[in-house]
Symmetry: D2
Subunit: 342 residues, 4 copies
């Protein structure tokens, strides 16, 4: 099986290179990047010397040319939002499997897309066919879709722990407050003063309040789990580390029973290799999930406020992006879920 | 005027050394530490070479001996909780002014102390006389107290922005959710594996859920401002930086009017040199307050949830501890509020 | 094949857990630690949830009991210097293969050991039989030794680039000056104030001047390569990062020919999977080797001083410790050199 | 006295704002920046709220207009190399005192400038009149110059400890090897991928080998101290911290006598407030000089190699740039040397 990464120059692309080059079942046959065309991958990303062939060179990113590559089975799109759709449409038309890491196909509704992304959806027909997949959460059936939207980093850390609890009626769907702290790689490899070492080092700050774009997919997914519309407060922050998201969710208890909460998690996640349930009182640490495809989570119940406090941690570039995309590929192609991910 | 620091070996003590040694109105006449007795201060804290006299040596910390030092006007207690009271009582009896950075005299009620600190209060009579002072918030009159309790780091970042809003009826006193991210110095200079460089670097995690000790003083102060009991959700986190606290408060709006919120702040903080009001949409950054005695704050209103999101940032060791203690001294002794703090 | 890690609680032990648990040819059958006896490994190292069996528990570290485990083929000793020998002797006597990550068996001479470690060598007979192995450098034949001494972190970064050049007469054996910058994990998981987050963050400093213990193995190995005694200046530093060593070597040119230098490297390292030769002018970056078993290196020639400047980078915990130990095991047991290391 | 900062948008400019706004003898009357014209300083640098007047606005940087400002006594030029000369010439002609933080006036010879900066010197006549000043090193008489060149960050950390030793014949002038580790702010506020947080975090690497531009001023100054040409090996590195330079100098002993070395330092630096002499065996730590104008230094003698190892540490933005510039101003204008710098 051959795979391609379209838009391999950013942090998600980089992590895909790492994961696919070590994967036992697939070959990384193509990497493309408009800005790096013709450069050997290891000259730009010296960390991969010895891991990828020395003659693997960035190819150009022309949608039609890529779609014509019938030797390639799976295309990963690690492109900016809005750009991914230009590639997705011809690739899907040519019968390729596409896993899209952008936000272009994550929402069920074009209206919601327009509200949060400020433009008409570029490919509404394909949007209808696409599936949004968190493997631990999404019900079977998604495998038939021609394109899978790999979820965002914040959404994964929020939707994964909350969905089983909403489904089981353990937590309220109203009054949810989420605070997340992300490593700087979450902002991508952007040349902006705000992302210089000297500006982010020793700095924690909130940003993007009160209506971050990721809210759209979070609320849509949580609403589906709850069976009714969900509006949450979502406060994202940047923290001085490269990778990792720590999410802390304050949610009113519907059933004020911590054992029931854990039982709901255990049922929903039984046998899932990438879920870490920590005992109540032990909060997940981003350091312990860095480089892994795991979401760790735990919860406490506060008698005084009648809230549950749910904490989760993941590597934003792995389970929050590229690792989850590979996990989706594994399941889609019938490989072992953990192939290339341990 | 002569000052002493009792328990000068920790991070608050260290910062007091820095601030008092540069202060134009006072002399740092004594530093004590049981573990460092006899050592020159600059041998232990080489960062202060040239700033403190080379012959300033750590003296022993015997409460009676210290109380007998009638040449010293103000004693700063930078001692662990529970230990401070042992020193405070004889010092106050001897007529010295005491500024206590521990939690021993921060609460109005011995019952609340017992609930949160798990032991009977060690000096209830003195507790009644003590004043809890955030200079920007506490009404005049506190100057007559014999001992001032300098507030905790998290509480300062929470009480300061919320108090004027509760007093003015802008925000609800119910349903407040606070998430704070603290630099590692907040844990003190503790020899525990959890505080080793390799354990905290690249790590964000929540801790101490759901009932952190600081809740007691936060809720007592907010309750006083609101005129009714206040119960909040408080989720503290450690972030990989030395200094700084970023606090994000989600609070239901009582008056959903952002201009009114800013007006309440502007009225309450008019002329205060250590309050930074940032425009709505600009979130305070811990990096911008590091080394300063300032609390920066801003707010947004979320139409979707009817909440205000209030963000604040401070240096946990300065405005959250030693800087505020010096600010209190300045006002107590009639100096300029900013002396030694700009 | 079954493996054991004796002394698995430190950073080298931790990395061995990671590498052996993912290794395709061996099973991690035993982890021991005096301080953690009886605790499940994943409770102490939550980062390995899902990677090691949930019932893998730290066993006690009694040398005789361990030596009696005839089901285990290879023992890795990740113990403090001086302690490793107590375990190595009975294990070797019982016929087990031993890979020792401590300094106990790295030197050829008991006198040199005594000079640098301040005590008589604890097991001189075994010292004679042991082999010191950097796979890319050590000539064949070492496989017959009953115990392999895995080299130190600094030594690997220095000996690896210099040995081929000394052998080929490209560089002088006299006047070598080495400066190395190490991540904090190089100091181990020691509970000392110096290794607290707040003390090492934002801090670079030299230490251990002028006679670091690692000098003994460095000079012994370089002397063997040069065919004459080598005395070097070695200046180690701590840098504020978890992992990585960057080494910069200033060495007078014997043959002032950069092409000849690179040719000597290419000949010596042909086909070696864990050597990265970077073009002259591109200095290796610790970030690019973190998590890998690679040593990256490059060189420039300075016409003005007639020196070569050689720079190398490695992950101190992988190629500088546990990765190299696994690489040794792979070659010793006839596995593929890269098994479990890519 | 009124001062101006020309080119105040970079890290040196920022630090000058901090230092001059707190200075007891001068007023910061003007800040200029081509890219920030018209913006209030505190909107761009929120860390200075409350420290500088809210109405201090970046003015344009036109050399002629600035030269016409006869109300301003001292101009600090915090401009890129090559640009500073355009401003220096008209300002000096108009009789203003100029302290230049760029490299434009640091060398004694236009030929040397041309060799290292690759262009003809833009103002050779002014170069002849300019003085290069490290206050602790430069002999009296420089005060008459119309323009003072404030030294570079690396040079200060190297020239300061070595000059007294070369003058006293304690160390050899030949065979000097210098390795320096700099915080990322040393690279300035440059929008390049290499300076993004995610690229510098957890990264140490050498760069600019073997002929860094700062070599020119280092060798010229050391040659003057030695009375003969000095050629050194200078290996600069980037370390993952915002501020600080740690320098480690390996130099053959001329007089192998550590006491004599310290005596030479004590004589040369007697009474100097910004020199910290640490006992042999204690290496200076960048953390201990961060935010100060101090150079800390210490030395050991190595019997085995007959070398001295000299280590120094400074804050690259303070003593290595803006602090030293203010120190120069203090002495030039007859203020106390430490004014505004403690």
């Amino acid at each position: 099986m051959k795979t391609a990464i379209v838009g391999a120059s950013g942090y998600s692309g980089e992590e895909l290179v790492r994961l696919l080059s070590r994967h036992p079942q697939v070959e990384l046959a193509l990497v493309s990047s408009r800005s790096l065309v013709g450069k050997p991958l290891v000259s730009v990303m010296p960390q991969f010397r010895g891991l990828v062939p020395a003659d693997l060179v960035f190819s150009d990113s022309d949608p039609a040319t890529l779609a014509a590559r019938d030797d390639i089975d799976v295309f990963f799109l690690a492109l900016p939002h809005g750009v991914a759709a230009e590639f997705a449409v011809p690739l899907v038309e040519a019968g390729r499997k596409v896993i899209d890491l952008s936000a272009d196909f994550r929402l069920g509704s074009t209206a919601l897309y327009e509200e949060f992304y400020g433009q008409a959806h570029p490919a509404p027909a394909l949007l209808e066919q696409a599936a949004y997949v968190i493997p631990e959460i999404t019900p079977a059936g998604w495998e038939k879709a021609p394109l899978i939207a790999s979820p965002g980093c914040y959404p994964t850390s929020i939707i994964t722990p909350l969905t089983p609890l909403l489904r089981a009626g353990i937590v309220s769907s109203q009054g949810i407050v989420v605070n997340s702290m992300s490593g700087v790689s979450g902002a991508g490899k952007k040349l902006a003063e705000a992302y210089l070492y000297c500006e982010r080092n020793e700095s924690v700050k909130a940003y993007g309040l009160p209506k971050h774009r990721h809210l759209s997919e979070i609320e849509e997914q949580l609403g589906a789990a709850a069976g009714e519309p969900v509006i949450i407060q979502f406060n994202p922050h940047l923290a001085p580390m490269k990778r990792g998201i720590a999410t802390t969710i304050t949610v009113p208890a519907a059933k004020p029973n911590l054992a029931a909460l854990y039982a709901a998690w255990e049922t929903a996640f039984a046998g899932r290799p990438f879920i870490g349930l920590l005992p109540s009182g032990t909060c997940p640490d981003t350091l312990h999930v860095t480089g892994t495809n795991r979401v760790d989570m735990s919860a406490v119940y506060d008698e005084r406020t009648k809230n549950f406090i749910i904490t989760s941690a993941e590597d934003n570039v792995v389970k929050g992006a590229s690792g989850q995309a590979v996990q989706i590929m594994n399941l889609w192609l019938g490989f072992k879920e953990t192939d290339g991910l341990l």
